[in-house]
């Protein structure tokens, strides 16, 4: 298993670097630059700024410089969660931990490393809660639907999950705000200060994913429940609860697991829509606004970070699947 993981990690390195180089070169091809604005700086000032940020070098040179700058140069993961400025929050300092410097931002005084450090923990928190909600709502609903296929339970669960898939978050979010923040006054309409502020955004995000989870669970469970080993378990006299939890769920969740890998990477790196509706200071907004601002280093930094997470989560999914599915082996 260790060999498998090492091999896959070694494979991942060129993938991430190719993504980095491609993004860096591609975002430079868009018309308009970081210093174009309604009141553009005089040409000599613009030249100053470009030379300060190294934008006047040939693009190939810039790309190589950038790749070297983000390349991990040490491995001290314990320093990732240090709190150097003592504000009670982990710094999530990629430079201290791995020596990766993602460069400055043209728009903000905060570097790309700082921006990721500020916003990724928030997105992670929001995403983890949303995932928990998605699984807690989605799996039971899916199981219930699969146990009584084509009954009212099934129609009800499928109907609700269909609704969850169809109602976009930018509709669900404001509706939740309208009901719980403006009418009932239980929550704030926006902001990210205490635990209560996290509930509406995670619920909005969670419901959208719960719907997918429910549908995948139903499909997976239906397939497993018709198989011989379930009949064997039942005939052996195992209780219904045991049959479902111990025997069926293990196989029934396989489609959910393969969906969860990339979904989890996406969900914990933030969602632009949720962050905009609820004013959550997460990472998702930077994917979008950096592109609007032509903030080249921030665009590439967020994409590389996301790519690395996707690779890692896919690896984790493969490991979990081998563990759940006896038909698979590490090779």
């Amino acid at each position: 298993m260790l060999r498998f993981i090492t091999f896959r990690l070694l494979q991942a390195i060129p993938v991430v670097f190719i993504v980095a180089a491609a993004t860096f070169i591609m975002c430079r091809q868009i018309p308009g630059g970081p210093f174009d604005s309604e009141k553009p700086p005089p040409p000599e000032i613009k030249r100053q700024l470009e030379s300060f940020y190294g934008l006047n070098k040939p693009l190939g040179q810039q790309t190589l410089d950038y790749l070297w700058s983000i390349c991990p140069k040490k491995f001290m993961p314990h320093r990732l969660f240090l709190d150097a400025n003592n504000d009670g929050r982990a710094d999530f300092d990629l430079k201290a931990a791995f020596g990766s410097d993602f460069g400055p931002s043209f728009k903000s005084v905060r570097s790309v490393n700082e921006t990721i450090a500020d916003s990724f923990p928030v997105s992670f928190q929001l995403g983890a809660m949303a995932l928990a909600i998605a699984l807690l709502l989605g799996i039971p609903a899916g199981v219930a639907a699969a146990l009584r296929p084509n009954s009212w339970v099934d129609y009800f669960a499928s109907g609700i999950s269909m609704l969850g898939v169809c109602v976009p978050t930018f509709v669900m979010g404001p509706i939740l705000v309208l009901v719980f923040a403006l009418n009932l006054r239980w929550f704030n309409a926006s902001g990210w200060f205490d635990f209560k502020d996290q509930l509406l955004p995670s619920l909005t995000l969670g419901i959208a994913y719960a719907a997918y989870v429910a549908r995948l669970t139903r499909g997976g469970m239906l397939e497993v429940l018709n198989q011989d080993f379930i009949r064997t378990a039942r005939s052996k006299g195992a209780s219904e609860g045991r049959v479902i939890l111990k025997h069926a769920l293990r196989g029934g969740l396989l489609p959910v697991i393969s969906f969860l890998g990339p979904a989890a990477a996406g969900i914990i790196t933030g969602s632009f829509v949720i962050e905009t509706i609820f004013q959550v200071p997460g990472l998702g907004r930077h994917f979008v606004t950096s592109a609007f601002n032509r903030d080249y280093f921030l665009i590439t930094g967020t994409v590389v970070f996301y790519a690395a997470l996707v690779v890692l989560f896919n690896l984790a999914v493969d490991v979990v699947q081998v563990w759940l599915n006896p038909k698979l082996k590490f090779e």
Partner: protein, 544 residues
């Protein structure tokens, strides 16, 4: 068994959650308790890019920096005219070219250091240092030698016309008398000082990217100090004890909340989380007018919405075509049926009553006249004239472009097409003058007609129409150095008459600031730059 247990667990969980949240029901909103504590909750839309007045460039940044720093002069809360700030008094030499400022004995930085004349000298030299790449450094180019130093032609900083006579006396020498010098100093953050020793601690003061404006390190000289800054979440400033006029300051602090979505901001206001919003969703303006007009504020604003004409194109080279297109637009209909935010139809470029200046020349809405001009120019009934309206992607800009498109079709028979581009692409297109007609807006940097007129100088980077007129250039450049206001405004009148006859632009409306303001906010006067000197603002809960 299992199912029963799960069901009962779920029921208990739901009940507990319901109890928890009903217990949390807020009888008192955040605005109510903030009002009691004299904390202003300020929705400022965009996360500030930074707080260094020599590096940032936005209007939102101004609103925050104005609480943290103060210039030699500051603004009157109602008129925004310059009043004593860090300087208690000043003299102007008879030729109007030298100003001497006397800084208050009790002017202190937030760390207790005295504010000295040398601080101002160092700040201005820093702003003008080419390696800093400050985008607003041109604001200081009226100082002797400043432009040359800024562009690297002059290497010796001592030759720039700003010097400390003693610890508290500052002398500024100008290229020529600059009538709006004090206005700029009061209203624009480029003229406010920074504490160089503090900046040095965080790195090189003369390159961008120096992150000295963190709460742990920030040192300012304004009525408030930086207390906390959580990016995209909240930026808190609290009352400074070292500020010279601390006894006037009634607020204990301001929380700036960057809520980017217009709808989200309005919801936060309704949920009692904000005293002031940056905007109001266009669709809600009428609702507020009808149901909650006491919360809605529509203030004038020193900005004009207009279209640029690309005067280098064959079909727009003839000014009669530009005049016809301008005269065929019904601005009143646009502000009343399209924008609906209390905007004023614009018949000139400079907004009316800009520091007492209103353009005498005005464009007209005259369909018959427009038809005739177009026919004279060889495009009778719009035949053969191809026009494209270029704008940056936005619902509002599209609606206005469509309205103009219809008016041209109906009134002149001109077929116009529309082209939208994403903001940065649109900016690049406009800077390259690669359009036919392009939507634009201009906000004055300080209240003086020159901030509008100078954009259409032939060498201005903000012209972008290919238009140049030597007489216009002469009048505007001459006005820059005139002392007598009446004669100076006369120059602007003549210049604007040329501009509105030649029409490299099509004025549409004068902006307004439409926002929501909680009735507890006092001394929030309508000012045409949306500046509200915070030291005069206070909060008072409305009587029940």
């Amino acid at each position: 068994m299992t199912r029963l247990r799960i069901t009962s667990l779920l029921t208990i969980g739901t009940l507990a959650a319901a109890l928890l949240f009903t217990g949390c029901g807020q009888s008192k909103s955040q605005v109510d308790s903030a009002t009691e504590n004299q904390i202003l909750l300020y929705g400022n839309k965009a996360e500030p890019q930074g707080l260094d007045p020599h590096v940032v460039e936005g209007v939102g940044e101004h609103q925050i920096i104005a609480s943290l720093l103060e210039g030699l002069v500051t603004e009157d809360p109602k008129t925004l005219s310059p009043i004593p700030g860090q300087a208690e008094k000043w003299e102007m030499s008879p030729d109007g070219k030298t100003y001497t400022f006397h800084i208050r004995k009790n002017a202190l930085w937030s760390n207790g250091d005295p504010v000295t004349a040398q601080d101002f000298v160092d700040s201005y030299i820093r702003l003008l240092t080419p390696s800093l790449g400050s985008r607003y450094s041109y604001m200081l180019h009226c100082i002797e030698g400043a432009a040359d130093y800024n562009t690297g032609k002059l290497k010796d900083a001592a030759k720039v016309g700003v010097r400390a006579i003693d610890a508290k006396t500052l002398e500024i020498r100008l290229n020529c008398p600059t009538a709006y010098l004090l206005d700029m100093m009061a209203q624009h953050y480029t003229w406010w000082p920074v504490h160089i020793p503090t900046i040095r601690k965080s790195g090189d003061p003369f390159t961008p990217g120096n992150n000295w404006t963190r709460p742990e390190t920030f040192v300012g000289n304004g009525p408030f100090v930086l207390k906390e800054w959580r990016p995209n979440n909240v930026l808190r400033v609290r009352k400074s004890t070292n500020y010279w006029d601390a006894s006037t300051v009634r607020l204990n602090g301001i929380d700036f909340l960057p809520i980017e979505s217009v709808d989200g901001e309005e919801r936060a206001f309704r949920a009692g989380q904000l005293h002031r919003t940056e905007e109001v969703p266009a669709a809600k303006i009428d609702v507020y007018k009808k149901e909650n007009s006491n919360l809605l504020r529509i203030d004038p604003y020193l900005a004009t919405y207009f279209f640029r004409f690309n005067t280098t194109l064959p079909q727009l080279k003839d000014k009669r075509v530009r005049q016809a297109l301008t005269m065929a637009v019904d601005r009143k209909a646009i502000v009343e049926t399209v924008t609906r935010g209390g905007q004023q139809p614009a018949y000139a470029f400079t907004p009316p009553d800009t520091k007492g200046y209103t353009s005498r020349a005005q464009v007209k809405f005259d369909v018959e006249g427009a038809k005739k001009l177009l026919a004279d120019a060889g495009y009778a009934d719009g035949k053969g004239l191809s026009v494209e309206i270029h704008y940056n992607t936005s619902e509002n800009h599209r609606a206005i472009a469509e309205a103009v498109q219809q008016m041209w079709k109906k009134n002149l028979g001109v077929d116009a097409t529309l082209r939208n581009e994403e903001w940065k692409v649109y900016m690049a297109t406009q800077n390259a003058t690669n359009y036919v007609v392009s939507r634009a807006g201009w906000t004055g940097d300080y209240p003086d007609p020159s901030t509008f007129h100078e954009t259409f100088l032939s060498n201005s980077g903000n012209n972008r129409t290919g238009w140049d007129n030597p007489e216009y250039d002469r009048l505007v450049k001459e006005a820059a150095c005139m002392v007598d206001e009446k004669a100076r405004y006369e120059n602007f009148q003549k210049a604007e008459a040329i501009l509105l006859d030649e029409l490299p632009l099509l004025p549409i409306y004068y902006y307004t600031r439409v926002f929501l303001l909680h009735p507890s906010v006092k001394n929030w006067h309508p000012t045409f730059l949306d500046h509200h000197p915070y030291k005069h603002v206070y909060l008072e809960a409305p009587a029940k």
